[in-house]
């Protein structure tokens, strides 16, 4: 018998003894009845309003707590204008990006050499980029998170290797809370999930030295989110 069968055998043997349900000490039923699926998660997590204005307000507040830059803009044109300013201020020389409607539009107008990750790339080349430009799957108002995957955001490294991560999102991608973001994932990818999915909540950080916050531990020191 192999280890898999041995371990599963030990588990089955062990589970012959019932365990009390959580919060019901001494009550030894073998399966849960009503609340098995946490369908009401939304009722317990921090409350977020339903309207677009509420979502923007919550997302903005979270971003300021997280030290991420959030810009709710009117058009692609405004976005290009904003990023042109950032490009000049931070003296970007080279940009990492992937192919997509939003990224293509912005890249074409920033006029910088682009390291494209879609067809594979040189790690040292991507590492030397000043910023990584990606799209995403959703923005989460409740937590200030960006939800992205290897399919929507040019792979695993583009959003973590360059020192500045710039996210481009459509207004309708701003969802209320985590349960809704998980629903987006399920709907969009169903049974064929990308191999990498991440909730990115603010720029990379650490508190490992005396619990003092430092931004840019291993990942980006800056996170800019443009929503239009």
């Amino acid at each position: 018998m192999n280890e898999r069968e041995l371990i599963l055998g030990r588990i089955r043997e062990a589970l012959k003894v019932p365990a009390p349900l959580p919060g019901h000490h001494g009550d030894e039923r073998s399966s849960l009845t009503s609340a098995t699926v946490p369908t009401q998660v939304r009722q317990w997590l921090p409350a977020i309003g339903e309207s677009f204005a509420d979502r923007v307000k919550a997302f903005r507040r979270k971003c300021s707590e997280l030290k991420a830059d959030f810009h709710a803009l009117d058009s692609e044109g405004d976005c290009v204008k904003l990023l042109t300013d950032v490009r000049d201020r931070e003296q970007w020389k080279r940009l990492g990006a992937h192919r997509g409607d939003l990224t293509d539009f912005v890249c074409s107008r920033l006029g910088l050499p682009i390291c494209n990750t879609d067809k594979g790339y040189d790690v040292a080349g991507l590492e030397s980029c000043d910023a990584g430009l990606t799209e995403c799957d959703a923005l989460v108002a409740q937590t200030g998170s960006v939800l992205l995957t290897s399919r929507s955001a040019g792979g695993r490294a583009l959003s973590v290797l360059p020192p500045h991560h710039v996210v481009l999102a459509r207004r309708e991608q701003l969802v209320r809370d985590l349960p809704e973001a998980f629903a987006v994932l399920k709907k969009k990818y169903g049974s064929n999930y990308p191999s990498f999915i991440s909730f990115i909540t603010g720029p990379s950080r650490t508190g490992d030295i005396e619990r003092i916050l430092v931004l840019g531990a291993h990942g980006p020191k800056k996170l800019t989110i443009c929503c239009f």
Binding site: W44, K119, S150, S198, T206
Partner: protein, 463 residues
């Protein structure tokens, strides 16, 4: 030295170390403030705890089914799943992969399971270069010591100590700035990432429904570990399973809230396989090693099975008055604090580790803070009971026999009371010295005086 003796000796030293106490107090006060703020934002924290506990209950109590589902889903997309009954087997599997790939350097992100099986030592012995990439883990690795805390590995060090360490080991210029220290580590580790052949990680959750592991972190080191090297290996305990992907909508924010006090940590990432067709990067090979290492023994104990619900947030360590005074290294266990005291006797032997269950004031702060409602302080009592049942203490047996003998004979009881009152007059002569029969108690505590009058005498006089 036996573990119990070692614990006692070191605990005595640590409780008198005011510098240590101050450091831990400062760090944890900051944590408590943000944790309470994050908790207060929940509409119903108690209901969330109950639901989280039920999700983990469901997974642990149908562990065989969910593990099979998890492993099948992963394998269907090209992941190789390995099963290891013992730490030794897990090490052999991991070493086997590394040898086969002819790899030289391994970059690791934080994994307590690897501490549990002493993986780094095994890899170093075989001549492989292993680098811990989490800043706290990197620091304690340079100091050649185990992590102090399961979430904050370098919590016991000051920036001055870290600066000296970096100057000595990395040749960097001394600095008092946490930011500069972090950047020194970032520069050193970036080079390691680019050269590494193998990326090694742990996991916080294993999603059965979709066949994914979930990794929670702040720094981005686990993300780089899973993105750049050509081979990725993840080691996880079999109890990490959750049934559905949506369960994480609750468990991820709760883990963060109690773990670090953040509403959500910076990166919560799910990995469901090696690089898939059409994806630009990620490892060509993904290996998941499932580790039992006596978890099934704990599983067989219905009463304490909920200890396998643990999501390793470290919350119970942070609120534990014992942990805060004796510190993480005093335990000499992989998992310290209340959860460590509960599970270590199951993982390493009850008789040798039962002393941890006595190092508790039974205040219940751990049980109250636990996001998945593990009945921690009651389990400490269960361990004490099981230990006594398995191997009764001779001294206690004799003491209770003697007590029963005296209490069953009223005249003997009366005269022993009188004798006690008389002898107590002389107690101050030996109090707190080795000649004191109550030394174990009186070396750090007062012995209350025996009342001048018994209740019976008082009652008789009154009427």
């Amino acid at each position: 030295m036996k573990p119990a003796q070692q614990f006692k000796t070191q605990a005595t030293v640590m409780t008198h170390d005011l510098h240590h106490r101050e450091l831990i107090h400062t760090a944890l006060s900051k944590y408590e403030a943000v944790r309470d703020q994050s908790k207060a934002a929940y509409q119903d924290w108690q209901a969330a705890r109950q639901a989280a506990a039920e999700a983990k209950w469901e997974a642990v109590n149908h562990l065989d089914e969910y593990l099979v589902e998890f492993s099948n889903k992963l394998e269907a997309r090209g992941t190789k799943v390995h099963w290891a009954s013992t730490g030794l087997q897990a090490k052999e599997i991991i070493l086997g992969i590394i040898r086969e790939k002819k790899a030289r350097s391994i970059v690791k992100s934080k994994a307590m399971t690897s501490e549990e099986i002493h993986l780094n030592e095994a890899l170093a012995e075989e001549g492989f270069e292993v680098v811990e990439s989490d800043l706290g883990e990197f620091i304690v690795q340079l100091r050649k010591e185990p992590p102090y805390h399961i979430v904050f590995p370098a919590m016991h060090l000051t920036r001055g100590e870290i600066s000296e360490l970096f100057a000595r080991e990395l040749g960097s210029a001394p600095t008092q700035s946490p930011e500069e220290l972090t950047m020194i580590a970032r520069r050193v580790l970036r080079q390691k990432y680019i050269r590494a052949d193998i990326g090694f990680t742990g996991a916080n959750f294993a999603v059965a429904e979709t066949g994914m592991i979930s990794i929670t972190e702040n720094e981005g080191n686990a993300r780089l570990t899973a993105a750049l090297p050509k081979v990725m290996i993840s080691l996880l305990g079999i109890e990490k399973v959750v049934p559905r992907l949506e369960d994480l909508a609750l468990l991820l924010p709760m883990l963060s809230t109690i773990g670090t006090g953040q509403p959500l940590t910076c990166y919560n990432s799910f990995y469901g396989g090696p690089r898939q067709p059409g994806e630009p990067d990620g490892p060509d090979e993904f290996h998941v090693v499932l580790l039992d290492n006596r978890r099934t023994e704990l599983l067989a104990d219905g009463e304490q099975r909920d200890a396998l619900h643990c999501i390793r947030c470290g919350g119970c360590l942070n609120v534990c008055p014992i942990f805060r005074n004796v510190g993480g290294h005093t335990y000499h266990t992989t998992y310290s604090g209340p959860i460590g005291s509960v599970i270590t006797p199951h993982l390493r032997g009850l008789q040798e580790w039962k002393h941890l269950s006595f190092a508790s004031s039974l205040c219940g702060a751990c049980t109250e803070t636990c996001p998945v409602k593990i009945n921690l302080h009651h389990h400490l009592l269960h361990n004490r009971r099981n230990a006594a049942r398995q191997k009764p203490s001779m001294f206690e047996k004799v003491a209770f026999k003697l007590f029963a003998f005296v209490i069953n004979r009223p005249s003997l009881y009366r005269s022993s009371k009188r004798a006690g009152r008389l002898l107590q007059i002389f107690h101050p002569l030996v109090k707190g010295t080795r000649f004191d029969p109550a030394y174990a108690w009186t070396k750090t505590r007062d012995l209350p005086p025996i009342a001048r009058q018994t209740f019976k005498e008082y009652w008789r006089q009154r009427s």
